[in-house]
Amino acid sequence: MQTLAYPCCEKCNHTASTPCRDYIKCRVEGPLCHDDPDCKQKRQDFLAKMYDPEGLTKQILICTGTGCVSSGSQRLIELVREELVKRNLDETVRVRSTGCHGFCEQGPIVIIEPDKTFYTKVKPSDITEIIETDIVGGNKVDRLLYRDPVSGESAVTYETVNFYAKQNRIILNNCGQINPERISQYMAKKGYQALEKVLQTMKPEEVIEEVKKAGLRGRGGAGFPTWLKWNLCRKAQGDKKYVICNADEGDPGAFMDRSVLEGDPHAVIEGMLIGAYAIGADEGYVYCRAEYPLAIERLKIAISQAEKNGLLGKNILNSGFNFHLKIKAGAGAFVCGEETALIASIEGKRGMPKVRPPYPAEKGLWGKPTNINNVETWANVPHILRNGADWYCQFGTPKSKGTKIFALTGKVNNTGLVEVPMGISLREIIFDIGGGIKGNHTFKAVQIGGPSGGCIPEELLDLPVDFDSLSEVGAMIGSGGLVILDDTTCMVDIARFFLTFTQKESCGKCTPCREGTKRMLEILTRITKGEGKPEDLENLETLAGVIKKTSLCGLGQTSPNPVLATLRYFREEYEIHIREKRCPAHACTALLQYHIDNEKCKRCGVCAKNCPVGCIFGDKNNPYEIDSQNCIQCHTCIDKCKFKAITVS
């Protein structure tokens, strides 16, 4: 047996194109087509060699997601392999490269199974010790274990790391466990069994009904009921239909779609297969942004493996169902995440949105009925069909079911990807999972939903995170980016940051978005420079109202949200900028002046030596001074001064 798809003996004569009833299950849990203990042993041995369900041999799991690769994990794999060969352990200890574990800041992450030992920030020089102490000696390398930033205690297994203990990883479960470049590892984790069940036992309507019962809502931002979209597209006139996976992930600060594609690409493919069967589509596209080369690469490998195993192409599992899947690489335009713009881009045109209706479900790609879902939405589908809607409904709230992946970033101790049930509070995410605020700073706000979302202040942190509660307070889940802001972040600057972004990404088709965001940005820039006028805030609100009401697509309609939300909860900060011409967070550089306190200054000269523009003058006999004309407010002098003699005002 060379791969899982190979027959175990002569009695097993079915292939992917002439499958037995439980073809996929038969490969992994079987054989189910005939009863033979020897064959069963053969299959189990094969599985154990590839992926060890009983945990009999030691395995070294090394993350090869983008985060850990940038911290040097590829080199670690080479070193571990060399070291194992040197000690004649390469037959007994397995090394596996996996997708993202979500805890990127602690990378490169190395896990030892079956003990679940969790080593963080592993350097090439640590490898010998890990092999010697842990793999050979059976002890832990204490200094590489994760230490909790709050309690200071070290956690031996990943299950005891607070960051993971409070999560509910369903969609992310395979990421970091399987090798995403091996279809058999996905199958060993019950992969493609949902597809098999759907194709062999369910009618398309029943699939849609199950998704409806599960209450799945779109993870791409709007939270639209998935079954409703599928049903509209299924009922639309036409014999040619398309399904599309939206992997444009434009929100700067969100990377869950990237991690799912890099860590578990087959889950997305399986979800699309099931959706296409339910809708009656035979062709699909994954539209992935070009900034994600590794995700595109892994997806390519996954598609070709699925094709080879008869899971993509014609007459899949002998059900008569055909489905072909292609990848389209985006070319760098945020607006292409919007579904009608995305379709235009696949058609090879400029990615400009269209007026809806007609909705893509009626008239989409090449004018044919088309269904678009987000990466995470698709990845939810196999779980629902495999385990049933009832199982799925145990997670989440009455109106928002299941889990949601959030990208927790910014000024928080544990940055990374967290998957939690809908309805959990922001406080739990930020303080329990995220480990609180970095350094000696205090929490100020959390930005949620990217350029379409808002900022939520401390007093609302106990709000449950679901699709409906957040929109009541002027924010939205959006794609699931959570950027934590502390007392050194200026809220006017954040609003300006997002408007700079939307203004740059506005496609220019409609006037309110093209011109309106420009005017708003001008006002905000003025305020951050200390040139704001008293009437500015009212003007911002008026402009925001018009842009929201009259823009053509979601980009324009939601672009004022970051400004409105910060005005709602942090109005005073705007007023201080305007009235007193100062920035309380010391972030707006145009309003900052650096001073050296001559009482505290010991004339050591460190500041002058480190100043990148050489604007600090003085020596042993003459007091040090900063030439504020040339100062670029880079903060280096403050960081370097041991005597805290430099202040900003």
Binding site: E105, E291, T415, P612, C634
Partner: protein
């Protein structure tokens, strides 16, 4: 003299690139919506989109030149001037912004003595900004020739640049 490799065979070298691009165009022929992938291939081959190349693409694909220009200029991925040997992309995403991405950009601009969007005089580096690299957990982040560098401070900039030829 050939502009790409410095040897005296300008015509041949350019032709080779053109032949390669034509092969790519042929591979996409008959496939609807292939203008963007073709332009991506062209940029891979030339490093940017020379005007002549866009005209050639228009002619080969029977698409009006204006449409090719329109599509190419719409997407931020496409460049119309040659890049340096190494392309630095500085993330300007939210996570990087709040953790000091701007300081890293300023340090790079200072160190290389160019502004974002420009190439150094010796053709060694091109400095660009991007919306998000997707390594937000390691903010602030830059990528050089698609290799990601995370958790940066302005002081680390010179050391990183030193590694590139």
């Amino acid at each position: 003299m050939c502009q790409s490799c410095g040897k005296g065979h300008k015509d041949l070298h350019v032709d080779l690139k053109q032949i390669k691009l034509k092969e790519k165009i042929d591979a996409y022929r008959g496939e609807a919506g292939s203008l963007i992938p073709v332009l991506q291939e062209a940029q891979d081959i030339y490093g940017y989109l020379p005007e002549e190349t866009m005209k050639m693409v228009a002619k080969e694909m029977k698409i009006p030149v204006a449409e090719v220009f329109g599509v190419a200029t719409f997407y931020s991925q496409f460049r119309f001037t040659p890049t340096g040997r190494n392309v630095i992309r500085v993330c300007m995403g939210t996570a990087c912004h709040v953790r000091g991405g701007l300081k890293v950009l300023k340090a790079l601009e200072r160190e290389l003595d160019i502004k974002a969007g420009e190439t150094t005089g010796d053709g060694k580096f091109t400095l660009e900004t991007v919306a998000c690299i997707g390594a937000c957990g390691l903010a602030p982040v830059i990528s050089i020739n698609n290799k990601v560098f995370g958790n940066l401070t302005s002081e680390m900039v010179p050391g990183i640049l030193e590694k590139f030829e």
